[in-house]
Symmetry: C2
Subunit: 548 residues, 2 copies
């Protein structure tokens, strides 16, 4: 028995496009003499469709695609994901379902039972939990079908939720010969083998092979890495689909293969995820060209490299925007960096405009001393010039801010926070250095001078980031501990051997900066907890944020 | 038996402040010889605390307040809202509870059973539904306790949810003498008497008086109007607390009173809600002074009036920022408007800076004609100047955009979209005219010239809003139909007697503009469906948004 895993990259609500991909995959499956074809969770709509699910016409349109797909399932057993109306009057009006076709007929549905409602997930907003574990029979084999989270409860690796039922244990009673799982499981950095180990637990409990098809591609902030999996009944990983691209993984249950390694998920995957995030943001919207400010610092150098790999160097325009505070080194480093990447660099001196603003505002500034106002003016002029070029020439502005800055609010609203997409909003400064080193392993991609220099915003004489922020080696672990791991402050202090007061000061600053992050461009999510999605905190509040 | 309804305005996570308010209310209750004291939902934390609920130290801190409150409950029966840990291993680790004190002892908890997870609510993200309807006895009366949504299922007036259980029917079996309800029920415009009618159904079913204490005050985007209610066993409204302010409502069950009218919820309440939204955004964060651009148009005139009523005219600074495209009328109208309100108006001519940008960018604009780029430049210079004054002088910038513009994206990122708070983001242009007329009923508040003029952004010669947008009389009902009422497009077209194509074009534009709204300041929510909260749609998607 041959299983064709169609690891697709759908666009949300693109019914024609997504169904086109499904139809083509079915044709490829037939060509490969497959018996079973498995698609990702919510294949037809793409995941996550969010509040489009509340539009009844959207649900009807998704359902209508089944009639396009059905004729192509002749001779096959096919599971394809979509939302469907809940026929019973229950709490929510929809199920997150798999439509099941057998030999050209729609033979039923299997509804997702465990509905993640934490972090980036909000499935209880839309869906009613499914019930029961009916098996489907095809070519004499008894097939169980689960959807993503359904198998995660069994290994206890879900986010602050303790589901009452365990679909894997229910399935165990039914003794399936094969378990299929439709997934839309997002990428995050250093999520080590967790999917393989979750599926391994399931396979061992059920004593049957498990086949998981994961969505690939980026939808807004979320990046899905693919890496669909086939595990044997011992829970050993036998085959893995490619990461970060569409892929057909063909599994022959009757041909035994040796176990292979689960995906590594190292720094290289983080880079691939960011490239995919940029590429899909552009291509799914029909954009081709990006613009960014190249400051001579490491963040913009890295974004330029990501943009080049996502869109091609000919589609990227870099602009250096010096003022009197910009160092000569920054100008030459930006130039070197652009030439490494083969990207056009323009230089526009904004100092005269800066001076005009100072003159205009002088009568209103009441002789108050130079402060963040003047710094913000410079970075806002940069934002304005970049946006003007974006508007006039049809380039999309990429934002180059990093997670450490976003955490602390070391960033200017309407200045360096401009842009359509926050490429590095979920990457800490230390991880940015790691990415640069990774890129430079094979050949020089990021200028060594840029990597070595002390980070500076260059908005006043002799400024460095460390004048305002704690050293990144102290700051980043606190961000990770407080935001990503949700550890108590005392634990963070102990683990990092810094004072509780220092941790408290950082955490307070993180809360103070919330209002800025709310106006940030959407940021690619690449860690266990991003600021941009899956973290909802009030702006006006006093917890860990006593007013000064 | 006397019931003291403590309609309080808590700040999220301000345990000291909120407990202080609770303690003072208990003292006032005793002074008034009350027997029962009722507080709003999640009194101790404020509603909604969002992801602060996931911080165990936050939950412990909230729980710790009970020991401060307990000694003051001597001689009283008190229900106060807070989150508490779920002692059982269940799906979620928390309950949304009422702590129940009787004569100085904590005698138990009553957990919320129906957890709204739609629109602005996401309670399933945090809470486990409570079970059962135990009654509490005090001074011989059997008292039922419910929390907000618990009584809403009974009258079938909840958002796309069909709860399996109905706590009111369960309570009916227990035959309580009195029902208490702790609420945090947000305001929205023209929400006609719905709370009174929901509670009336409950009272009639239970044949007992119902007392509801609602939160008052604004927390970020949500505005709670108070208007706590007492209904007799026939479901007649007997007493109503004040709207939009803290209030003590004292109910004597043994003194029969005649029914009164439920709150009207007209245009005057909308104005009060906006004033409260601005006031609490400032006061809860310790800000006192606001700045805004006064263009000579009706939106900024209205925001100036709201700011004055929220903060005092001496705390508001208006700035007119003309370019060559600004009409003489706008300058004089802004001046007249500022003098009506007694607010300082400064004028800063930004045309020279605009010309400097054009000169700087000319070599990069490839001789392309004047387009939105140049318009955006002007409004972005305004944003920069206002933000510079905000930064230097410590004023918070108020955003003056309205819902009709926000819907269509007729607004400039980093330009007129700057600011800390979107005061009118959920008010359509037609409602803005209604508010102006309402304000002018008693005395001249908004300049008649401003009300009468044709709306224009004044960013190019002889421009009017209607060059780009459909007439507001056609546009606003489509926004209302599609966004607020979620009607099918054909229904909207039929009801509005406009063509389906026109509706489709507007809806498509609403989806295209999603990326702009994501970077907007938080906007006060005052309708059934705001863009700023309770509406989650992807940016990258193709539903009703075919790429052109």
């Amino acid at each position: 028995m041959k299983i064709f895993i169609a690891q697709l990259n759908p666009t949300i609500g693109d019914f024609q496009g997504n169904t086109g991909k499904i139809v083509e995959a079915l044709q490829r499956a037939k060509k490969n003499r497959a018996d079973i074809v498995l698609f990702p969770e919510l294949t037809i709509t793409g995941y996550p469709p969010e509040d489009l699910l509340l539009d009844e016409e959207f649900i009807d349109a998704a359902y209508g695609q089944l009639e396009v797909i059905r004729p192509l399932t002749k001779g096959l057993f096919v599971a394809v994901g979509l939302p469907r109306k809940n026929p019973l009057k229950r709490e929510k009006g929809l199920f997150n379902s798999a439509a099941v076709f057998s030999d050209g007929e729609l033979i039923g549905f299997k509804d997702k039972r465990l509905l993640p409602t934490y972090d980036v997930f909000d499935e209880r907003r839309y869906f009613e939990p499914g019930k029961g574990e009916p098996l489907f029979t095809f070519l004499g084999r008894r097939i169980g079908i689960t959807i993503c989270e359904d198998v995660w409860r069994h290994s206890g690796t879900v986010g602050y939720t303790d589901y009452l039922s365990d679909p894997v244990l229910d399935l165990q009673l039914e003794r399936p010969d094969l378990l299929l799982n439709l997934s839309a499981s997002p990428y995050y950095f250093e999520r080590k083998d967790v999917r393989a180990s979750v599926l391994a637990e399931t396979a061992k409990t059920l004593c049957c092979p498990v086949v998981m098809c994961n969505q690939v591609g980026a939808n807004d902030k979320l990046i899905f890495d693919g890496h669909s999996l086939f595990l044997n009944e011992k829970g050993e990983v036998i085959q893995v689909a490619k990461g970060f691209v569409e892929d057909d993984l063909i599994v022959d249950l009757d041909v035994p293969l040796c176990p292979c390694r689960a995906p590594e998920n190292g720094i290289g995957d983080l880079y691939k995820a960011l490239v995919l995030g940029v590429r899909d943001y552009f291509y799914k919207q029909g954009f081709t060209r990006a613009i960014l400010g190249l400051s001579g610092g490491i963040d913009s150098a890295l974004v330029a490299s990501i943009a080049k790999d996502a869109l091609g160097s000919e589609n990227v325009l870099c602009v250096a925007l010096p003022t009197r505070y910009s160092s000569q080194g920054s100008a030459s480093d930006a130039k070197e960096q652009a030439s490494f990447l083969g990207i056009e660099l323009r230089t526009i001196d904004i100092d005269p405009i800066y001076q005009s603003y100072l003159a205009l505002l002088e009568p209103h500034f009441n002789d108050l001393p130079f402060d963040a106002t003047e710094e913000n003016l410079q970075t806002r002029i940069r934002g304005m010039v970049l946006m003007a070029l974006s508007n006039k020439l049809g380039f999309i502005l990429l934002n180059t801010g990093n997670k450490s800055e976003m955490a602390m609010g070391y960033t200017t609203l309407y200045g360096d926070m401009c842009g359509g997409l926050g490429v590095l909003h979920d990457v800490t400064k230390l991880n940015i250095y790691q990415l640069a080193e990774y890129l430079n392993r094979k050949q020089r991609v990021i200028s060594e001078a840029i990597i070595k220099k002390v980070p500076s915003a260059e908005l006043r004489p002799n400024q460095t980031d460390q004048d305002t922020l704690p050293p990144f080696k102290r700051l980043d672990p606190v961000i990770e501990g407080y935001i990503e791991k949700r550890l108590p402050l005392l634990t963070i202090a102990t683990e990092q051997t810094c004072s509780l007061e220092e941790v408290q000061a950082i955490v307070r600053q993180i809360h103070i900066a919330e209002y800025k992050r709310r106006q940030a461009p959407i940021g690619l999510r690449v860690t266990q907890k991003a600021f941009s999605k899956g973290r909802n905190v009030p702006i006006v509040q006093k917890w860990r944020f006593p007013s000064s």
